[in-house]
C-alpha cells in the first residue's frame, strides 16, 4: 500500500509540473475541439500532432497525445446532441437519444449529463488501470479468436433491436452493413475482394467515411432548404437548465455505471474500441430497460450508457497497452508508435522500467479529466449558441470539416468521394425511413466476426465445437441465447417484468 501511495506521489510530481499541466491542457482542449468538429476525430488529430511531439520529453508528449484521445470522447457527443451529426464516428449512437432531447429543448441538460457520464466512465476505468492493469491484461490474453467471436456475436445479437421502427428494415440494414464490411482484403488469403480494382478500397471503406457520410452528410442534405437553426427555442442558458432533477439523476446513475463496466471490459480487449463499447452499452441498456419504447425518443438512460462506455473504453484501452505493449485500439496504436519514436518500447516491463512515465501518465488522466469536466460545463452555453448560426453558414463549414477529417486520415482524396457517396446513400435511406445505426453496427461487427470465426477455424482445424469447448466462449454464447430468447418470447418477458415490479414496488416509486 505504501508503495502504491509512493507511486501516486511519483505520478503527481510528474503530472503536476508546469510543462505537463500545460501540455495536458493543450491536449484535452484540442481533443474537445476535434471531438466537437464533425469528421475530424482523435485518430486524425493525433496523427497530425505526432510529428510535433518529436521535440518534447516523451512523458509530456504522451500526456498531450493521450489528452487529445480522451478529450475527443467528451467533445464527440456535442454535435450529436445539438445537430444530429456525430462529432466522431464513435458517437453516432449518441444521436439516437441526444438529438430528440435537444428537440425537446433539453440540450443544456443533455450536454451536462454527457459531461458527467464521460467523467464517471473515465474515472471508473482509470481506477482499473491504476489498481489492476496487469491482472486485467492477463485475463485479456486468455481471449483467443474463439472468445472474440462469441463476444462479437453477443454484440450483434444484443444490438439487433437497436433502432425504432420496422425490425425488418433494421435487420436489412445490419445485413447491408455486413456486406459493406466485406469490401477490402481477405485476411486469410490476402486477396483483394469487391474492390473493383481500386487500390484505395483494398483496406475497405473507412469507418469515419461511412459514419460521417451516413449520419453527417445525409443529415445536412435532409435539412437543405431550412432557413436557420434554433428550432428549439434556446435563449439564455441558465445553470438551472443544465442540472438534472432528482428523478432524472435517478434515471441516469445506473445506466452510467453499467456503461462504465461494459466500456471498461470492451476497452481492455485489444482490437475493439469505443465504437463497439457504446453500441453494446446502448443495446444492453435498452434490453434491461423497463420501458424500451422511450429509447430513441430522448431517453436519458439511452444517452448515458453509451457516453459512459466510450470514455471508459478509451481509458481502459491503456490497460493492455501499458502492461503488455499491445494496443487496445487503432488510436492507442499510434500512441505506442509515439513511445517507440521517443525510445521507449512498450512491453511487459514498461510499468517497472518507466514508473515515472506510467504513473505520470495515469495521474495526468485524472488531471485531464477534471480539466475536461470544468472545461465542458461552461462551454455548454457556447455550444448551444451554435444552433443560432444560420444553416447556410453552418452546413458548408461542417461539410468542409468532414472533408478535411476524412482526407487527413490517409492524405487521400478518394476518401472524400467515399464520404460523399455514403452521404447520398444515407439521404436515400432517410427518405425511405431505413435506419442508419444498424448499418454501422453490421459494418463494425461483421468484419470482426468473420476475421475471428475464420481464425478460430484455422486454429481448430475446422472443428466447430471449439466455441462450446472453451468456457469463456460458451458463457458468451449462452448469454447470446438468452438475448435471443428474450426477443422471441416477449410474452414470457413481460410476465417476468410484471412479477419483478410486484415484488419490488418501492424501487421506482417516481
Amino acid at each position: 500500500m505504501s508503495e502504491f501511495l509512493a507511486n501516486i506521489q511519483l505520478g503527481l510530481s510528474t503530472a503536476l509540473s508546469a510543462e505537463a499541466l500545460l501540455f495536458c491542457f493543450l491536449g484535452v482542449t484540442v481533443g474537445t475541439v476535434v471531438g466537437v468538429l464533425p469528421g475530424i476525430g482523435a485518430l486524425a488529430a493525433i496523427s497530425l500532432a505526432l510529428p510535433l511531439t518529436y521535440y518534447l520529453d516523451p512523458t509530456t508528449a504522451l500526456i498531450m497525445l493521450a489528452g487529445i484521445f480522451y478529450g475527443a470522447q467528451y467533445g464527440g457527443s456535442t454535435a450529436s446532441i445539438l445537430l444530429n451529426l456525430p462529432g466522431t464516428a464513435t458517437s453516432a449512437i449518441t444521436c439516437l437519444d441526444g438529438y430528440p432531447l435537444a428537440q425537446q429543448g433539453k440540450a443544456p441538460l443533455a450536454l451536462f449529463v454527457t459531461a458527467i457520464n464521460s467523467f464517471v466512465g473515465s474515472s471508473f476505468a482509470i481506477v482499473l488501470v491504476m489498481g489492476f492493469a496487469p491482472l486485467i491484461a492477463g485475463f485479456a490474453l486468455k481471449f483467443s479468436s474463439t472468445e472474440y467471436f462469441s463476444v462479437m456475436l453477443l454484440g450483434l445479437v444484443a444490438a439487433s433491436t437497436l433502432s425504432v421502427g420496422s425490425p425488418f428494415k433494421a435487420l436489412a440494414m445490419v445485413v447491408f452493413g455486413i456486406v459493406l464490411g466485406q469490401v477490402g482484403t481477405d485476411v486469410n488469403t490476402g486477396m483483394f475482394r469487391f474492390n473493383f480494382g481500386i487500390l484505395e478500397l483494398a483496406d475497405g471503406f473507412g469507418l469515419v467515411a461511412v459514419a460521417m457520410g451516413l449520419f453527417g452528410v445525409a443529415e445536412i442534405m435532409a435539412n437543405v432548404g431550412q432557413a436557420s437553426g434554433a428550432p428549439m427555442g434556446v435563449k439564455g442558458i441558465r445553470f438551472k437548465d443544465m442540472l438534472p432533477s432528482r428523478s432524472e439523476w435517478k434515471e441516469i446513475w445506473k445506466p452510467t455505471l453499467r456503461g462504465s463496466v461494459i466500456g471498461s471490459f470492451v476497452g481492455a480487449l485489444p482490437g475493439t474500441g469505443p465504437g463497439i463499447a457504446s453500441l453494446m452499452a446502448y443495446a444492453a441498456e435498452k434490453r434491461l430497460s423497463r420501458d424500451p419504447s422511450q429509447f430513441g425518443k430522448g431517453s436519458l438512460a439511452g444517452l448515458s450508457a453509451p457516453e459512459a462506455a466510450n470514455n471508459a473504453s478509451v481509458q481502459a484501452a491503456f490497460i493492455p497497452t501499458l502492461s503488455l505493449g499491445i494496443p487496445g485500439d487503432a488510436v492507442v496504436a499510434v500512441l505506442m508508435g509515439a513511445m517507440i519514436l521517443h525510445g521507449i518500447t512498450p512491453g511487459p516491463n514498461l510499468i517497472n522500467d518507466q514508473p515515472t512515465m506510467f504513473w505520470g501518465l495515469i495521474m495526468s488522466f485524472w488531471i485531464g479529466n477534471l480539466m475536461l469536466l470544468f472545461l465542458n460545463i461552461p462551454l455548454i452555453g457556447l455550444w448551444v449558441r451554435l444552433l443560432s448560426i444560420p444553416y447556410r453558414l453552418l452546413y458548408p463549414a461542417i461539410i468542409l470539416f468532414i472533408c478535411i477529417g476524412v482526407y487527413s486520415a490517409d492524405n487521400n482524396v478518394f476518401d472524400i468521394y467515399v464520404v460523399l457517396a455514403f452521404g447520398l446513400i444515407g439521404y436515400a435511406m432517410r427518405k425511405f425511413s431505413y435506419p442508419a445505426t444498424p448499418v454501422l453496427l453490421g459494418f463494425i461487427l461483421g468484419p470482426l466476426l468473420e476475421e475471428h470465426f475464420r481464425r478460430a477455424m484455422l486454429l481448430s482445424h475446422g472443428d466447430l465445437t471449439i466455441f462450446l469447448q472453451r468456457p469463456i466462449s460458451l458463457v458468451f454464447l449462452l448469454i447470446s441465447l438468452m438475448f435471443l430468447g428474450s426477443v422471441f418470447m416477449p410474452g414470457l418477458r413481460s410476465k417476468l417484468v410484471s412479477r419483478v415490479r410486484r415484488n419490488a414496488p418501492s424501487d421506482d416509486a417516481d
Binding site: Y54, S145, T185, N188, L324, G325, G337, G347, L459
Partner: protein, 332 residues
C-alpha cells in the same frame, strides 16, 4: 515468373514512352539537375505515422533538409500494405521532388503476390538507396516445448500444418519468411494471418499460436521480460540486440537468409544527376549521430546501397519472393 515478364513488358513500354518524352525535355532536365533542389521535397511514407518507416523517413528527412538546403516534408499515405503510397509515387513526376520510403512488402513482395498491382516495383522506380535491413527473429513462448530450430523442424515434419506461426498479414515479410522456412526445411507450417503484428503478438503471448517470425526490437522486450524465447534470427550473423541467439542457417537450415528492408525510391525516369545528388546526401545522412542512434535503438543494420546496387537488389528480391510465392502455392 511468366506473369512478371508480361507485366514487365507493359511497364517497359511505358518506360520507353516516358523515356521518349523525357528526351524532348532533356535540356530542361539538365538545368533542373544543376539547381536541384530548388523547392521542398516530399517523402511519402506509405503507412500511418508512428511506425518504424515513419521514424526512419523523418530522421532521414531532417538530415537531407540540412544538407540539401530545402525543407523535406514527410507525407503519410497509408493503405493496402504500403501499395497505395507506393503507387502514388510511381505515378508522380520523376523530378526528384516526390520520393518514397519503400519497404519489402510495397517494393518487392507485392509484385510477387499480386497480379492486380497497378505498378511494378522493378520498372516503375529508380531506387536512390536501400538504406537499412533488419532480420526477424523466430520466437516461441518461454514455457514452450520448442527449444531449438531442430525441435520445430522435427515437430513440423511429423505434424504438417500443425505448427502455427502468426504474422501481420498475407504478403508481409514475416509471412514470406515463414513460407521460406517451410520450403527450405521441407516442412509445412500453418500460417495464421492477423491484422497487424500486435494482434499476432497478443495471441503468441496468450498461447494461441506456437511461434512468430517477429520484429527484433519489439520481441526483444518480451525476451528480456522472460515471456518469450528466441530460437534463431533470420539474418546471416548474430544480431546486436539478441546476443547469443544463433542464425537459422547456424541452427540447421543451410544458406537460409531473410530480411526486411527499407529504402528511398524515386519514380522511374528521374535524372541520374538528381539520383546521385540524393544518394550522396542519403549516405552522408547515414553517418550522422542522429541516425546512428535510431539504428542502434531500432535494431536496424545499415546498408546504404548505391542506386545501381539497389536496382539490382530489388530485382533479385522480386525474383526470390516470386519463387517462394509459386513454390508455396500462394497465388490461387
Amino acid at each position: 515468373m511468366k506473369k512478371i515478364f508480361s507485366k514487365g513488358l507493359v511497364s517497359a513500354g511505358l518506360a520507353l514512352a516516358i523515356g521518349a518524352a523525357s528526351m524532348f525535355a532533356s535540356p530542361a532536365n539538365a538545368v533542373a539537375a544543376d539547381s536541384y533542389p530548388d523547392k521542398p521535397i516530399t517523402i511519402v511514407v506509405p503507412f500511418p505515422p508512428g511506425g518504424s518507416t515513419d521514424l526512419l523517413a523523418r530522421k532521414i528527412g531532417e538530415a537531407l533538409s540540412s544538407s540539401l538546403g530545402q525543407p523535406v516534408v514527410v507525407e503519410n499515405r497509408g493503405g493496402a500494405g504500403g501499395t497505395v503510397g507506393a503507387n502514388y509515387v510511381a505515378k508522380s513526376d520523376p523530378d526528384g521532388y516526390t520520393l518514397l520510403m519503400g519497404v519489402t512488402g510495397s517494393n518487392a513482395i507485392s509484385a510477387a503476390l499480386r497480379d492486380d498491382l497497378p505498378y511494378s516495383p522493378v520498372t516503375d522506380f529508380d531506387p536512390v538507396s536501400i538504406v537499412i535491413s533488419s532480420p526477424l527473429v523466430l520466437v516461441v513462448r518461454e514455457d514452450s516445448d520448442f527449444k531449438s530450430v531442430q525441435d520445430v523442424i522435427a515437430y513440423a515434419k511429423a505434424n504438417p500444418e500443425y505448427f502455427t506461426h502468426g504474422t501481420p498479414g498475407v504478403g508481409t515479410s514475416m509471412h514470406m519468411t515463414g513460407e521460406l522456412f517451410g520450403l527450405e526445411s521441407g516442412t509445412k507450417l500453418l500460417h495464421v494471418p492477423y491484422k497487424g503484428s500486435a494482434a499476432a503478438l497478443q495471441d503468441l503471448l496468450g498461447g494461441q499460436i506456437n511461434a512468430m517470425f517477429g520484429d527484433i526490437l519489439v520481441t526483444s522486450e518480451y525476451v528480456k521480460s522472460g515471456d518469450l524465447r528466441p530460437l534463431a534470427v533470420t539474418g546471416t550473423k548474430e544480431h546486436f540486440l539478441l546476443k547469443g541467439v544463433p542464425t537459422i542457417a547456424e541452427a540447421g537450415i543451410d544458406g537460409f537468409a531473410a530480411f526486411s528492408w527499407q529504402g528511398v525510391f524515386a519514380p522511374a525516369g528521374t535524372p541520374t544527376a538528381v539520383l546521385d545528388k540524393l544518394y550522396t546526401a542519403v549516405s552522408a545522412a547515414l553517418e550522422t549521430d542522429a541516425l546512428k542512434e535510431v539504428f542502434a535503438q531500432r535494431g536496424f543494420l545499415v546498408e546504404g546501397m548505391n542506386p545501381a546496387d539497389s536496382k539490382a537488389f530489388i530485382a533479385s528480391e522480386v525474383d526470390k519472393w516470386t519463387k517462394v510465392v509459386e513454390a508455396a502455392g500462394l497465388k490461387k
